[in-house]
Symmetry: C2
Subunit: 589 residues, 2 copies
């Protein structure tokens, strides 16, 4: 849990009474007061990382601070808080992510490390916690609640029961139970979810929800079951129903989902907005570089007509209150001095960012005094004994089916990540399904990469892959090796490459690797900083796209195996009907 920070109150009292000097005064600012909504000239005195006093115009002090920072008349607003995000989605390790987002004014993130949790279990989550402490950003973690997402249907690198969740909740800087995605498990009162939620209830920490489309009786059941927030509302009606039912809504603008306009329509005509804060969920390195982080959500909200002080309050005080952080989210005596100077209340890049009263970014440049020790070298997590030769990627037809077989083909339309299905009769050659004559089809294989030996292969109509293969070890949420291919030699080359570099993404053609994005940290993250990661991703994306006829996106590649989606899903154990959560046979005799 988050330790109630035992500040040295005696020193702060002495400083407030002007008996000892403060460390810093940020003077000559227009303070944005998120308690009252007022904006007025002020100076802010800071000691030991805490605000000691906010002096309004005309209030002087007999005890000048050791340092003075001239705000030059800019607005001073609290540092932004991201209420829900996955560091892994940036493909950076926490310390590098921090360096990328702090210059945009974010000073606290609450991350759900469930990607690395699925791959490496507790040791992965601990790596995130520890690495997150190296840089200036206040990096809180929530205990992943759904590792793996649906245990019966997929093989992950780890499995969390309430025991692991409890152990994490008792760790420093762990502030809640992360998005409780198994909403069906909650309203069916499954034992696993019930016991995990119990651990959060016992400790009185945030039970973060995740309940897309939940409504009516299911929404009520989810709420009495424990979770109390949501960041998955796609429509105004959904936001409104959830707010009426007491949920705290995290307005989301992520790199892969942005229903902000609709979400705002569902709440901005309400009289009260205390239960609204913001999050980015999944944000890509490129977006971080170009658009920013929480500031970018705030900017969009303002562009959509939200009053700037309302948007700022949602991104600061409301977020802190959601987590019951009593010393974050505002600039007032006793609050941690996380704050930013901005030229205008428009969500653009701040001029300066302070964390605990330290100047940590100026005009986009990160200035944190970080721990210079290199991040630990992480073990290679790609372990696939079942893949030893190209033939392992052949799709064997059922015995005695003759020379043709009806196959349930997964179909993906570019508009959606949900896959429908269609029965297609395909030729059988040497006992294996062939795609000859079906240029629009390709194979997809999900291979367990944690030594369990499972793999399953299906046929897909998706990207219009013309030739070769493309593979990833980012594959939500179990992150098994996932390869889409036209020829087995290229698929095999990808598998070998992923084993070699410890995971990531790659493309192959004619049995040879033509591009690799190495993500050696759990097969999910790079050690490289934001600019480099962003460039590498773009290059990989463009090589992959060059193999395809249809629109290609990395996002589409990484959600084949997500069994919480409706529609058809392929896991390392077979094809699953997401709605019924049952395995289905892909062959029809």
């Amino acid at each position: 849990m988050r330790k109630s920070e035992m500040k040295d109150r005696s020193r702060l009292i002495a400083a407030a009474m002007q008996k000892i000097p403060c460390d810093l005064t940020v003077e000559n600012v227009k303070l944005v007061n998120v308690f009252t909504g007022e904006i007025y000239p002020a100076s802010v005195d800071v000691l030991d990382g805490y605000v000691v006093r906010v002096r309004e115009a005309g209030q002087t002090t007999a005890q000048p601070s050791r340092r003075v920072y001239d705000g030059e008349g800019r607005y001073l607003i609290p540092g932004f808080i991201d209420t829900h995000m996955h560091c892994e989605s940036t493909m950076m390790i926490p310390e590098n992510m921090s360096r990328a987002i702090v210059p945009w004014g974010t000073t606290t993130v609450c991350t759900d490390p469930h990607e690395i949790g699925n791959v490496m279990g507790l040791s992965g989550v601990r790596f995130m916690l520890e690495n997150g402490r190296k840089s200036a950003l206040r990096h809180y973690v929530l205990a992943p609640s759904c590792v793996p997402a649906v245990p019966a249907l997929e093989g992950a690198g780890a499995s969390f029961t309430h025991t692991e969740v409890a152990e994490l909740l008792d760790s420093e800087d762990v502030v809640g139970v992360a998005e409780i995605m198994d909403y069906v498990g909650v309203y069916n009162d499954d034992r696993r979810m019930h016991e995990i939620i119990d651990e959060g209830v016992k400790r009185d920490v945030l039970l973060q929800g995740h309940s897309p489309m939940a409504s009516g009786k299911e929404l009520a059941a989810y709420l009495v079951g424990g979770p109390c927030t949501d960041h998955e509302s796609g429509s105004a009606e959904e936001v409104r129903e959830k707010l009426r039912n007491g949920m705290h809504i995290n307005l989301r603008a992520s790199s892969i989902a942005d229903a902000l306009k609709h979400e705002l329509e569902g709440c901005m005509d309400h009289r009260f907005h205390d239960n609204v804060s913001v999050c980015t969920d999944d944000v890509h390195a490129k977006d971080l570089l170009e658009k920013g982080h929480i500031n970018s959500v705030v900017r969009k909200m303002i562009q959509l007509g939200v009053e700037p002080v309302d948007a700022i309050k949602m991104a600061t005080l409301n977020a802190a209150r959601e987590y019951n952080f009593k010393d974050l989210g505002a600039i007032a005596p006793g609050y941690i001095a996380d704050m930013q100077l901005v030229d205008a209340l428009d969500g653009n890049r701040p001029d300066a960012v302070f964390i605990r009263g330290e100047l940590v970014a100026r005009r986009g440049e990160y200035l944190g005094h970080d721990d210079p020790a290199p991040a630990p070298e992480m073990p290679n997590t790609v372990n696939m004994p079942q893949i030893t030769c190209p033939e392992d990627f052949l799709l064997r037809a059922p015995e005695g089916c003759g020379d043709r077989v009806k196959v349930l083909v997964m179909i993906r339309t570019p508009e959606s990540i949900i896959k429908t299905g269609e029965w297609v009769e395909l030729p059988v050659m040497d006992g294996c399904v062939s795609l000859e004559g079906h240029d629009d089809l390709h194979f997809v294989c999900i291979a367990n990469r944690y030594g369990a030996g499972d793999k399953s292969i299906a046929v897909l109509r998706c990207f219009g892959l013309r030739e070769g293969a493309m593979a990833t070890t980012i594959s939500h949420d179990s992150h098994n090796f996932t390869v889409v291919y036209r020829d087995i030699e290229s698929a095999y080359a990808c598998a070998e490459e992923m084993k070699r570099v410890g995971g990531g993404m790659c493309a192959a053609k004619g049995g040879k690797v033509i591009s690799t994005l190495a993500l050696p940290v759990a097969g999910l993250m790079s050690y490289h900083p934001c600019e480099e990661v962003s460039r590498e991703i773009e290059q990989t994306q463009s090589v992959m796209a060059s193999l395809c006829d249809n629109s290609f996106s990395i996002l589409a590649l990484v959600v084949f195996a997500l069994p919480v989606l409706p529609g058809y899903i392929l896991t390392d154990r077979g094809m699953v009907d997401g709605l019924s959560q049952k395995f289905v046979d892909i062959f029809q005799n």
Copy 2:
């Protein structure tokens, strides 16, 4: 601390999913939603005391509840929460207070039992906790922080250090550290206050403030010292400064202080009001009978122009959030079903009140199924070995002063409870000060009633007491025996009467008691119900007034000894200058 109530989530989930019936549906209501500010038709399903679901118009259930209560189109609002009050001020024990206030729509009170704490210590506070559990009202207690108010200046029946506060904070239903009145102690960083606050910080409970007139550097010092709320602001400017500095303001309308109009001026033009809730602090039995409780504050606010839904939110959800009660203050799935049906949003008496889904009041009649066992008989707390004869009430003049002496007379104007001083030359007879020729003066004696043997006597110009004496064992905050008198026989008669009945108030004339209000519970509270207590108080007040020329009020009688007031104060140890907190000599040679 407050136990995180471990509700049976499985049953609630089953009820939400319509697999088992709910206990109760309150149907046909206009729901006031304090999350959004909306009002719309709804039905509320309740099981095990929790709201399971709020069904909007048209949403039916396949599983009818066991009972249905027809709201007849009335508004359904959450039960009110009093964020700060002293039960002792009602002169009733908790169970009787509960019966008086629940019919007015209050369902939760957070009380500071510091009066009984000063008299009886921990055992007194425990009596309040236990007696409070006998009736329907949710009675939370805060650990008194200033017992006695100023230890060096007065003798109380108990003294709390951090040890006692810690023990209380670890008790069930204790939800915070009660009003930290020794604000000078906080900003001087006195050890006693520092250690007491530490106990609250460790347990992350509310640190309730009390800082009248605190401003500028002192306010900042108070805030970094820990306390974070206030209910003592007398002016708009004070409210505004405190809100800007992040304090949670409890708007107060008590029987003895009502600056609501000014307080509202200091906050209602703000954009946000999340940090505003309401309290009654001290409310008298008569006011409870005639005007109500929190509803009366809400009514006044509405009359002063506050939007009804804003006022209702302040009296419900904002109050719950101040204390971090996550399941109180709203009507939504998972919340405790404390709610009231009202004819209009005007703060008048509700038609029906529910606590935990039980109908506990209807049209003013209390219907709770209370524990019928009588309250325990409390020990007599009036122990004054130093009072054995009328002559003990003589004010001895300094030796060798001759037949006249200059005396520092305490002066009270009817407008204020603060006493100024004036030097008056008085005759000395038989070595004692005489009031002969000074019909406007009377004596006042404060006698320790906890066996310590201290007493002090002074001269007063206050009520225009013509004859006799009037006495009280309610005398803030140490509650020593306090008597105002013209003749020592009457003073002595009062002392004997208070010893006999275990405290209370009485009046005497010609050495004979003419009226007694017995308050045998710690000399502060009666065992009688509200109507009776109210009648008895009124009778005593009228007899006391009949002895006086000037305006008489019981309130003025009970604040002679309060050493946190500025001006002159008389404690059992002598006359004190409140500002300097030093003893002063009442004689001048």
